[in-house]
C-alpha cells in the first residue's frame, strides 16, 4: 500500500489531531468554543480552520494543485493574520502536519519506498509553508492598503468637495465647472 493510501485511510484521525494542535494555539476557553460550536456562522474561525485543513490534506494527497491549495491556505491565514500572532506563529500550523503524520505512522513499519514517499510529502509540506508565508504577507499588505485608502478616500473627497483640489477634467465637465463658476460669480 502506498503512503498516500495509508494516510487516506487514517484521514479522520490525522485531521482531528492536526485540528486539536492548531486549537492549542488559542486559550483554553477559546479552543473549547472553536472546537465545539459546529455552526459555521456562529463560529467562523473554528469552521474555517476545520474545513481549510481538510481541504489542504485532501489536495496534498491528490494532485497538489498550487492554486487550489493556496485558496485553502488563504481561508485560514487570512484569519490568523489579523489575530494576535506573529508571522511565524501564524503559519507554523503547517509544520504541525509533519509531526501529526509521523505520529500517525508510529505503528507502521516503514519500508524504504514508504520512507521515500514520506520524504517527498514532507518537502511538499515545506513548500506549503512557504506559500503560506507569501499569503500572510499579502494579507498584511492588504491591511496597510486598507488603512491608507481609508485616509485617502476621506480627505481627498473632502478637499474635492470643498473645491480645494484642481482635477484635470474632461472637456464636458470643464464646461460644467465653468458654468457653475460663472453662476456663483453672477449670483
Amino acid at each position: 500500500m502506498s503512503l498516500k493510501n495509508i494516510l487516506s485511510e487514517k484521514k479522520d484521525e490525522l485531521l482531528a489531531s492536526w485540528f486539536d494542535r492548531i486549537l492549542d494555539t488559542y486559550p483554553v476557553e477559546t479552543a473549547k468554543f472553536l472546537k465545539n460550536q459546529k455552526d459555521r456562522f456562529a463560529n467562523p474561525v473554528g469552521q474555517a480552520i476545520h474545513k481549510g485543513i481538510g481541504d489542504i490534506f485532501q489536495e496534498l494527497l491528490q494532485n497538489g494543485d498550487i492554486e487550489k491549495v493556496s485558496g485553502f491556505l488563504d481561508s485560514i491565514i487570512r484569519v490568523r493574520a489579523v489575530q494576535e500572532f506573529s508571522a511565524s506563529q501564524a503559519v507554523a500550523f503547517i509544520f504541525f502536519l509533519k509531526s501529526v503524520i509521523r505520529d500517525g505512522l508510529a505503528d507502521i513499519s516503514l519500508t524504504p519506498e514508504l520512507y521515500d514517499e514520506l520524504a517527498t510529502l514532507e518537502s511538499q509540506i515545506d513548500s506549503l509553508a512557504l506559500i503560506a508565508f507569501d499569503i500572510f504577507m499579502q494579507c498584511r499588505e492588504k491591511l496597510y492598503d486598507i488603512k491608507a485608502n481609508e485616509m485617502k478616500n476621506m480627505t481627498y473627497r473632502l478637499l474635492q468637495r470643498a473645491n480645494m483640489v484642481t482635477e484635470i477634467k474632461d472637456a464636458e465637465k470643464e464646461t460644467n465647472f465653468i458654468a457653475i463658476h460663472k453662476k456663483e460669480v453672477n449670483s
Binding site: T30, P44, K147, R161
Partner: protein, 537 residues
C-alpha cells in the same frame, strides 16, 4: 545560547488567560492594532472634559489626576444610585455563559476577555469590592478586586473593544446588556481624560461647528453643490435644495459622513433626488449638520449636549417635524434618549407624510422619523415610479446595523424598499441578521485606522455571512442604513470578501426612481453604465 524552538513551541503565545484561570492577577498588555490613539488635550479642553492633556496609551504614565480612584468610585456610586439597570446588571449575572460566545470580537479574535460575561466581570469585580459586603470582606474569594492602575488600563483597553452592539443581550436570559456596562466604563474613563483621538476629535468638532468633521457652512454647501452637479449630469435635472430656511415643513438631518465620503455621498444624492421628485418642503441645516453623535461614546452628558442642537434648530426654523437620514447610532440616540434629554418637542407636530397623509404615531413624541419609514410608506402607497431593472447588475444582501435593528426594531422597512427597487435580493443566514445581526466590527468610535486588526477580527463574523451569499448567490452589493457601516464595511469587504461593494438603501432607490422630466439615464449614481447601457454587453 537560546535553542531554536519547535513550531509547537513557537505557538505557545501569551494570550490573556481564560476565565477559569486567575485572570485577575495578570497585568494587561496593550497590543498595537487593538486600540486607538489617545485623545488630544485641545479636543478635551474644547468641551471642558476633565484632565485635558495629550496622552499616549502605550506610555506607562497616563498622567492621571490626583485621587483618580476616588473620582471613579464616586462616579460609580452616583450611577449605581441613578440608573437602576446598572445596579441590576452588576448584581444578577449568574455566569451561565449564554452570552460568552456571542460577541463578534470574541468570535473573530478569541481573546477570552472579549466574552461579554468576562468584559462585564472586569467592572463587576471592582463593584463587588467597594459596593457589596461579601466583596469587602472576602475580596478575591468573592470575585472582588481593588481598583488600581492595572485595572484601569484593562478597563480602558477592553471597554474600547466593545462596540455597544448589544448582541450579547439578546442571548442573556436576564437581558443583561453589556453595552450599558461599557457605556458606564466610558463615562468613568472620561472623567480621567482617557478617551481616544478618533472619538474626542469629532466630539470637539461637533460641539464647535455642528458636525464631526468640523465642516463650516460653506463647505457643507459646496459639498452638496458638487452632488447636485453630478445629479444633473446623470438625470439632466437640476435640483435646488435649501439651507437653513425658516418656515420649511421638514428639517432633514443626516450623518455628515454622507456629505464627504463615498459611498455615503451616493446615498445623500439619493435622498435629494427623492425629495426633489416629491416636491416636499424641506431644508438642510448647516448648524444641525450632524445626525451622528460621537458624544454618545464618551458620556451621557456629552451626548445630550451634542444632541441638543437638533431640537434647537428645529425650533429656530419653525419646522413641523424632522426626517433623519440613514445612520445607526444616530437612531439609537434619537429613538431612545433625545426625548428625555432635550424634549418634549411640543413645538412641533406629529410627523405626517405630505404625500400620503400617513401619520407616524411611532414618532408622536420625538417628532423625528427615519427616512426609510418615510420612503417605505411612499412605495406602499404607490406614490413613486420605479424601474428596478436599473439595479439589475446588482445582487444585493442587507446588513442590519445593530442600532437600527436591536435598538429600534427597524427591520422590515429597509427590506421592503430594497425589494421594491431591486430585482435580486438574498438574505444572509438567519442567525446573522435581524435581532441577531453581527456588528460591522467598528461601531462606537472604533472606526479609526490604527486599530485595523481588531476591526477586521470583529468584522469577520459579518463578512463570513456575506461571503456565504456571495459564493451561493453571486451577491455583489451589501446594502445598509448606517453611515459608519458604509465606511467600515467597505474596508471589511475589501479584506474578507473582495468583489462585494457597499451601498446605502437610498442610492438604490434613486437609481430606480423615474423622475419627472429626466433624460434617458445612461449611468447609475456612481457614473457606471446602467445594465444594458455599457456597450459591451
Amino acid at each position: 545560547m537560546a535553542k531554536l524552538p519547535k513550531p509547537e513551541e513557537l505557538l505557545q503565545i501569551n494570550y490573556n488567560p481564560p476565565p477559569t484561570e486567575d485572570w485577575m492577577d495578570r497585568p494587561v498588555e496593550l497590543k498595537q492594532g487593538n486600540f486607538c490613539w489617545g485623545a488630544k488635550g485641545k479636543n478635551l479642553a474644547a468641551v471642558e472634559f476633565p484632565n485635558a492633556r495629550d496622552w499616549t496609551p502605550v506610555e506607562a504614565d497616563w498622567k492621571l489626576p490626583k485621587d483618580w480612584e476616588g473620582t471613579v468610585l464616586e462616579a460609580m456610586a452616583d450611577r449605581l444610585s441613578k440608573y437602576r439597570s446598572f445596579k441590576v446588571f452588576m448584581d444578577i449575572c449568574v455566569r451561565c455563559g449564554a452570552c460568552a460566545d456571542k460577541c463578534h470580537f470574541f468570535i473573530g479574535g478569541g481573546d477570552p476577555k472579549n466574552m461579554p460575561v468576562l468584559r462585564a466581570e472586569l467592572m463587576r469585580s471592582v463593584y463587588r469590592k467597594y459596593f457589596t459586603t461579601a466583596g469587602k470582606y472576602l475580596g478575591k474569594l468573592a470575585g472582588a478586586r481593588e481598583l488600581d492602575l492595572n485595572v484601569l488600563k484593562e478597563w480602558w483597553y477592553y471597554f474600547y473593544q466593545c462596540t455597544e452592539c448589544r448582541r450579547c443581550s439578546v442571548f442573556c436570559p436576564y437581558g443583561i446588556d453589556t453595552a450599558e456596562i461599557t457605556l458606564m466604563a466610558r463615562e468613568f474613563t472620561n472623567l480621567l481624560g482617557l478617551n481616544t483621538d478618533w472619538i474626542s476629535g469629532p466630539v470637539a468638532n461637533c460641539y464647535m461647528k455642528g458636525n464631526h468633521l468640523g465642516l463650516e457652512p460653506h463647505a457643507i454647501m459646496n459639498s452638496i453643490e458638487g452632488m447636485i452637479d453630478d445629479i444633473e449630469t446623470i438625470t439632466g435635472i437640476r435640483i435646488n435644495p435649501s439651507f437653513n430656511r425658516k418656515g420649511a415643513e421638514i428639517l432633514f438631518v443626516t450623518p455628515s459622513g454622507d456629505l464627504f465620503a463615498d459611498p455615503g455621498t451616493f446615498t445623500a444624492m439619493g435622498y435629494m433626488m427623492l425629495f426633489h421628485e416629491l416636491g416636499i418642503d424641506y431644508t438642510w441645516s448647516t448648524y444641525a449638520s450632524e445626525g451622528g453623535n460621537f458624544g454618545f461614546f464618551t458620556s451621557n452628558e456629552m451626548a445630550k449636549r451634542l444632541n441638543a442642537k437638533i431640537y434647537a434648530e428645529a425650533k429656530r426654523l419653525g419646522v413641523k417635524y424632522i426626517i433623519g437620514g440613514e445612520c445607526g447610532h444616530m437612531w439609537r440616540v434619537l429613538n431612545q434618549y433625545m426625548d428625555t434629554w432635550n424634549g418634549p418637542a411640543d413645538f412641533m407636530e406629529v410627523p405626517k407624510s405630505p404625500i400620503t397623509g400617513t401619520v407616524f404615531d411611532n414618532a408622536a413624541s420625538t417628532k423625528m422619523i427615519h427616512v426609510t419609514e418615510f420612503t417605505a410608506d411612499l412605495i406602499k402607497n404607490n406614490k413613486i415610479k420605479l424601474d428596478p431593472s436599473r439595479n439589475d447588475d446588482l445582487v444585493i444582501t442587507y446588513h442590519d446595523s445593530c442600532n437600527t435593528a436591536r435598538g429600534m426594531g427597524l427591520l422590515e422597512e429597509p427590506r421592503y424598499i430594497i425589494n421594491s427597487v431591486c430585482n435580486k435580493f438574498h438574505e444572509m443566514p438567519d442567525n446573522t441578521i435581524r435581532e441577531r445581526t453581527f456588528c460591522c466590527g467598528s461601531g462606537t468610535g472604533l472606526n479609526a485606522s490604527e486599530n485595523m486588526e481588531i476591526r477586521m477580527r470583529g468584522g469577520y463574523p459579518r463578512a463570513n455571512a456575506v461571503k456565504f451569499v456571495r459564493d451561493k448567490h453571486g451577491v455583489n452589493m451589501l446594502a445598509n442604513i448606517c453611515a459608519i457601516d458604509r465606511a467600515t464595511l467597505s474596508a471589511s469587504m475589501d479584506y474578507w470578501v473582495p468583489g462585494v461593494r457597499v451601498t446605502g438603501v437610498h442610492e438604490l432607490v434613486a437609481n430606480a426612481l423615474i423622475m419627472t422630466g429626466e433624460k434617458e439615464r445612461e449611468t447609475n449614481l456612481r457614473g457606471e453604465p446602467l445594465p444594458g447601457k455599457g456597450g459591451n454587453e
